[in-house]
């Protein structure tokens, strides 16, 4: 397999754009990624388009805006891991030697979708709310409660993920929200599904992101600073009797992480930063352990230690709030900043776009282009996405 590089990335602002079609957002992201790469539509030999709501033909509709060059288009759907799965297809298209330069684009026009999966079918025959809940807020509430059951994690520990990611998001002009939310505000916002409050749930929205992917050899014709895709991994959930009732988001992430670290030849201690799938605040903490950023049962201590915050410490203004949650005997074994972009909690989660946007964020940091949220000395970054039920992607990028 050949070495694969990313030479151009872009994302639109995430938010609500009711007047724009998904294909407008995607074409904007695609053309800006080309500009970033110094390439043109004629250089792109295939397009991999991730989109959930547009069903079939999303990529062809994007090309009608971006340039109908007649190239092959593959449309990808893989729940919340849709965009990152499109990127992985682009990776293999290059790694295999089939093409020298391709594009992955992820897009979504969700509008105010409300509770995902809700409101289908005849109300009289719907099991939702009558024999438990099958919606994402309930699933991720219970994911958090499983961690509480095993390790005594408190609601406040989970809430810190929201405080941190909203703190980071203030410096991301492309994020849906640029507003800080101190601990008491997160704790006092209305409960959606315990232990997650409103500010611990990511918003729905619209947006797109794109990446120009090429062989390392080709990359050197366009830039002196290509970003290497050191690992591109996809897993699904292995059988377990528990997962028949509660989706297991842990095992497939652990499996993906192990393969990705082996592929890239790095470990969690080598990572400068991680963009992980914080669709709910509870998810962020369990993934610290799944990705090996801390030991099992240490996620609450890890976030309270300051390690995953930009600057690797709790901001002075929040020190007093966090103090009761700090375990002074805990020594973090990794210093990866987590969700410097603001995460899904601030940035938003237009489902098809998310997996490409996470990778774009890592690229900007590795190039030193992340502005006020720049992670210092960024060298290796990991982007993680999970979609139910269930797909997990991990990409590791290196300078």
């Amino acid at each position: 397999m050949r070495e694969v590089a990313i030479i151009g990335v872009s994302m639109t602002k995430f938010g609500r754009f009711p007047d724009r079609d998904f294909s407008d957002l995607a074409a904007q992201a695609g053309l800006e990624a080309l500009k970033d790469a110094g390439a043109q539509m004629k250089d792109i030999e295939a397009l991999f388009s991730g989109n959930l709501a547009a069903t079939s033909g999303s990529g062809q509709r994007i090309l009608k805006q971006m340039g109908q060059t007649g190239i092959p288009v593959v449309n990808v759907a893989n729940a919340c891991a849709t965009g990152s799965t499109a990127l992985r297809e682009a990776f293999f298209a290059i790694a295999s030697g089939a093409y020298d330069m391709v594009m992955a684009v992820g897009s979504e026009q969700m509008g105010k979708a409300g509770l995902l999966g809700a409101g289908r079918g005849d109300a009289a025959t719907s099991p939702e709310g009558r024999v438990g809940s099958f919606l994402m807020p309930a699933v991720f509430g219970m994911v958090g409660m499983e961690h509480s059951r095993a390790y005594g994690t408190q609601q406040e520990h989970f809430a810190l993920a929201s405080v941190k990611n909203h703190y980071h998001g203030v410096n991301n002009p492309l994020a849906q929200y640029q507003k800080e939310s101190p601990l008491d505000e997160v704790m006092n916002s209305r409960v959606i599904a315990y232990p997650n409050t409103l500010l611990m749930c990511c918003p729905t929205g619209d947006g797109a992101a794109a990446a120009v992917v090429c062989s390392m050899e080709k990359a050197r014709q366009f830039t002196t600073k290509p970003i290497k895709i050191a690992a591109s991994v996809l897993t699904s959930d292995p059988w377990s009797d528990r997962a028949l009732t509660l989706p297991d988001i842990n095992t497939l992430t652990r499996n993906a992480a192990k393969i990705a670290y082996d592929q890239a030849g790095v470990g969690p201690e080598d990572l400068s930063q991680v963009e992980l799938h914080d669709c709910f605040a509870t998810a962020e903490l369990v993934h610290y352990e799944n990705l090996g950023l801390c030991g099992d049962g240490e996620a609450g201590k890890h976030i309270a230690s300051g390690a995953p915050w930009i600057g690797n410490k709790i901001p002075t203004k929040y020190e007093e709030d966090v103090a009761p949650l700090v375990d002074k005997t805990y020594k973090p074994k990794t210093t990866a900043v987590v969700n410097a972009s603001g995460g899904l909690l601030s940035k938003g989660h237009p489902m098809g776009a998310t997996g490409v946007a996470n990778v774009a964020e890592i690229v900007w940091h590795l190039r030193g282009q992340a502005g006020a949220r720049q992670v210092e000395n960024a060298k290796v970054g990991l982007a993680h996405v999970i979609g139910l039920c269930s797909a997990c992607t991990i990409h590791i990028l290196q300078k």
């Binding site: 509770l115 809700a118 409101g119 005849d122 109300a123 009289a124 025959t125 099991p127 939702e128 709310g129 009558r130 024999v131 438990g132 809940s133 099958f134 919606l135 807020p137 309930a138 509430g141 219970m142 409660m145 499983e146 059951r149 209305r190 409960v191 959606i192 599904a193 315990y194 232990p195 059988w239 009797d241 528990r242 028949l244 009732t245 509660l246």
Partner: protein, 142 residues
């Protein structure tokens, strides 16, 4: 259509893993055990995701008792679903686990404990336009 409209309203289980008896105290949860690998599924099953067999499956009666594995209190629910309510996963005595509502206690975190013993009961939860009734199960603390 006229024939269908004339049919007597039925009493139906809301979910396929609930088997209805003559009376509500005879209702029970059903499961399927893979005869190849012994994997236990809640409800009917034709294929085994664990061992890839196409059956046969042994139909089994699951316990009406168990304990709460995890719970959440749902405040934001779709229209027509009264909230807040307690959603939980209950591990049944002897195997199998189910999603369920927990009734009989106020939906507040301090009222819930991991491992809390619970027992199943059933009751009518809805009726469709043709007058058919739907029966669902729930669990209450013992």
């Amino acid at each position: 259509m006229a024939e269908k409209a004339a049919a007597a309203p039925e009493i139906r289980p809301l979910v396929p893993h609930l088997t209805l008896g003559e009376t509500r105290d005879q209702d029970y949860l059903n499961g399927s055990r893979c005869k190849s690998c012994n994997a236990l599924y809640v409800g009917p099953r034709s294929f085994c995701g664990k061992c890839s067999s196409q059956g046969p499956f042994e139909k089994v009666r699951l316990s009406d008792e168990g304990e709460i594995h995890v719970w959440s209190i749902i405040h934001q629910a779709p229209p027509n679903v009264p909230a807040p309510y307690i959603a939980a996963i209950v591990d049944l005595t002897g195997g199998g686990s189910v999603n369920t509502n927990i009734l009989g206690i106020e939906p507040k975190p301090e009222n819930l404990k991991f491992g809390m013993k619970v027992k199943m009961a059933t009751g009518k939860v809805s009726e469709d336009r043709d007058g058919n009734s739907y029966i669902a199960y729930h669990f209450k603390p013992v």
